[in-house]
Symmetry: D2
Subunit: 327 residues, 4 copies
């Protein structure tokens, strides 16, 4: 089928490519003309503004917005809402806060427009492996767009099927996409996915830190090992309880740079990690590990915190302790 796509960065561009590989047609737009030109050469219909994009689509139109969350997405959807017509649909495939989805869906519905939020996981690997998608929106629209989602999804691939999964269960989940519920639910599920991701990453990070430090010359010689972290990551990939895609990536990284000297150790976080904690607080769910994982990232970006200095100040106050400098 036909899809309009706005935003042709790494994600949007590859989504267009994967769709075209699967026989769909795309009308594409990006502020950056070079991106539009590039995809046009790969078979897309490139356009130079939103009016042209809307004009190039048959009704009912569907436009996939794949832009940074916040103002870029919001502004684009607002403009689109003035161009599209009753029965058309807007997909937000970015990292939007699910509360914005709920709000937008309501506002757009008043204009007869459908709103679908798609949380996608798979990043730079999606073109090749397919995108894992969590979709929110009204059932009818999500059903109408099924050919799009089916083509973008990874499919069963070579992953073993869950043994006790009921024959009556929604078959889409096994194909790598779900209709999670009404607008907002797609991004909500994706948000939690990222929260879990932070926790898993931090678990690996802490564990490997102990392994690495066990080799350290700071330890007495008779307490030291000479562990090969690359081999450890590799061996755990086969048959261990912690085998996972994140471990595969870790093994990749350690294979060529076991000391990880190429990385700054200053770790960014995106909105989803924080919103996961907000959701937990709204729902009174205890999430000490997810929150601590987020805060480890905040901490990683600073040389020292004001709080650390305050600890030193108190220790000086009650015990006369003078802290030495950082190692």
């Amino acid at each position: 089928m036909q899809l309009g796509i706005i935003g042709l960065g790494r994600m949007g561009g590859n989504i267009a490519r994967r769709l075209m590989l699967n026989g769909h047609t795309t009308v594409v737009y990006d502020r950056n003309e070079a991106f539009v030109k590039g995809l046009s050469e790969e078979g897309a219909t490139g356009v130079s503004d939103l009016q042209a994009l809307v004009a190039g689509l048959q009704k009912p139109r569907t436009v996939w917005v794949m832009l940074p969350a916040g103002a870029p997405t919001e502004d684009t959807i607002n403009e689109l809402s003035t161009l599209l017509e009753d029965g058309d649909a807007i997909i937000d495939g970015g990292n939007t806060n699910y509360k914005d989805d709920v709000r937008r869906a309501k506002a757009l519905a008043e204009k007869g427009l459908h709103y679908v939020d798609v949380g996608t996981s798979g990043g730079v690997w999606g073109l090749e492996r397919g995108y894992c998608m969590m979709i929110g929106g009204d059932a009818e629209t999500v059903q109408r767009l099924d050919p799009i989602f089916k083509s973008l999804a990874p499919g069963l691939s070579n992953i073993p099927r869950t043994k006790d999964r009921s024959a009556s269960a929604d078959p889409r989940a096994e194909q790598g996409y779900i209709h999670a519920g009404p607008a907002g639910s797609g991004h909500f599920v994706k948000m939690i996915h990222n929260g879990i991701e932070y926790g898993m990453m931090q678990a690996f990070a802490e564990g490997f830190d102990i392994l690495k430090t066990k080799n350290s010359e700071n330890l007495p010689e008779d307490q030291r090992f000479d562990l090969n972290v690359a081999d450890i990551a590799e061996v755990w990939r086969r048959g261990s309880v912690v085998s996972s895609w994140l471990l595969d990536l870790t093994a990749d990284a350690l294979a060529t740079d076991p000391k990880l000297d190429g990385y700054s150790g200053s770790v960014a976080d995106s909105g989803e990690g924080r919103w996961t904690i907000e959701a937990a607080m709204e729902q009174a769910v205890p999430v000490p590990v997810l929150s601590t994982s987020l805060f480890a990232r905040f901490r990683s970006r600073q040389q020292s915190t004001y709080g650390d200095k305050m600890l030193s100040a108190m220790r000086f106050g009650f015990g006369g302790h003078v802290e030495t400098s950082k190692k």
Copy 2:
């Protein structure tokens, strides 16, 4: 080759079976005569005491002890050490604290005996999938026993190879086993594996708790979704960043019991989780997520803690707050 095995429970019995399937011979012993009889019928040489086990093995002998950590293992190894002879080897395949390995290896070396510690992951799935093994001991002995480890390991199986792994890297890691270093290092690496496992599990637990609670009638109706946790686990298995064996198991469990009503929620922990924290403290490594994951299990086993009551008592003290009862 030939191996003596002591302890024929789920782990020890399956190790014997997998070895026999691969052409090795075993001499087996267990306090429980029925276990010995059972394995004898599958081809093992069953014996009724340690003397007979030692007598049934050709020199240099190797005895795999697969018993609960602590006294059962310690006592058995002590007794074996009086029966074995110069050049023989003892393997401890259980969940021993690595410091006990270091101590034992030194004591046994004085008698000319070799000590090898093998941390194994794979649990009830090992017979079929193979055991992921982390091995500590002197290089010569570990090399001599290679046929055993090779047969027990999962092998390359259908897991994609790590792309940048050097051709000169130890090939055993890809086969699912490593020689981690001297005695103790095998169990050390396994211990950290379990620490990481706790963290990953807790990350999933917290994330799914938010998902589940988002359906709760305690939330205002307009903030509620109706998320299908089984479908979510299933979809994440395909192409998402959190795909992992633990997620596969979660999808299995949720497929038949999405409310998890069949589980008490009182979660045990074994020694490795605690020892991981001890190691981190000895090495001054910050592990807030691994420790918090352990403590979540401690907490799960109690109705309420003395600490919780103390919070209530303080709140009454400064604010006159009277806590209501638990929901």
Copy 3:
């Protein structure tokens, strides 16, 4: 001076009383007529609606709203804003989210009204000990209301002065109240106060839990002590680093109920604890202890979590472990 007070619960009533004890006059209102009647008998001018309250005050009027945060406070302020006149002031002394203060101050300023937010700590003890107050608002209004704040504050009392505090520092802080900055800053500081409070309480709770558990019959007899927690709280009150008002309250509670059997252990939390975490996330400040303290309260209110059950489910999945029931 003269003050209108709306909301005569524990906090509002005692504020009126402390002001009257210090020579101020009050015009008071509460939905509950009995409260109005009671305070009238103590010297206040009781009124039966907001119109009468406003009518009873001389210009420039000041009305202290002491109601539950959220709708009760919001609605009352909205109504007041239609009754008051240019130059009048509204004080919100409740537990309002500081962002609501910022919004309200802006809206009220457009009507010529001043808005002052006062975070107060001291709870049920305030009448006797005075209220520790953190005040936000424009400097002129806060200065005009100084007689009120001065009377409500604890004053220097018998607390030793901070030795290196500059003579040029704001003298109000030593008296127990500060002008923190523009509208919102008072409640912001109070919010952080409560966040810290949660952390300190949890630190005590965990420590005493270890002390109490060290007496437990679950421990081997030779590892057990018979510690007297009431005496321990008492002794720490004198000269130890942890001496604090919270410890005083703990000692009070333990003196009569060392087992804390009178408390449910189901611990409530108010908005400030959650908002503190939100603020930390907005500012990228790592607050693992404040957040973990909040989550310990969430956890305290449940028998078992869905997350705990998921841990059990995974453990069954990979190891065949069957969890026993809760103790």
Copy 4:
């Protein structure tokens, strides 16, 4: 009464001084002759080795060892045990692990010697304010030494008495010392005290970090305040729930250095913090806040961790994210 004191550093020297001020006599020794000479001039009997110290004491002798925990204390007690005689007593006033106390008390008892462990809080302030002491040992010896403890303790001073404390309760607790139980229990209680101390300090550190950061130019101007952290610490000292000695010290520090530029922010930890976590693990008590507080100190001493770099490596792996450098 008469006391031998070994170790005349800040703690040991002031203990001697406080005892002499209260009419006791001391025989003192330190490796550092200058310390011995100094205290001799203040009235103590200085000696130049342990033999002379023992010879200078009347039976039953009591020797207070005030040395760094570990080898210095252990070696000294071992040597003393060969010099002392049946009925004599050794006090360890240092920061010894309570398990060492239990072991030593048993070994010394076989020689007829009494062992008393005294955990002391009060640091550099003890000479003036008195020492808060938690004492382990046999009741008879602790009773015999009561005059020493009574003189060292702060006494009731001007701290209000706990209102509901029973008249039959042990009166020593109010005086600032307790007999906690058998050998080891004194240091056990002190250990938990320090664990709590870490948690309280971290709670303050995190809270003040949010306050400080709220002034940061990294925030959008309309979200920024200009909070005075020194005034905030000061105001909380009067009537707030977080009032405490640690807050007093914080107010002291902030009064002269509100940016805390004089502190490195690299925060040391002593054994007690770690042992508290060990004890919690042995007793299965959930202590997420105490452990997280300890780990914040570990983290404070590093520029970046191997774990942080691993997070960056994974983020690059799945998303192509390149982390920027630390701010």
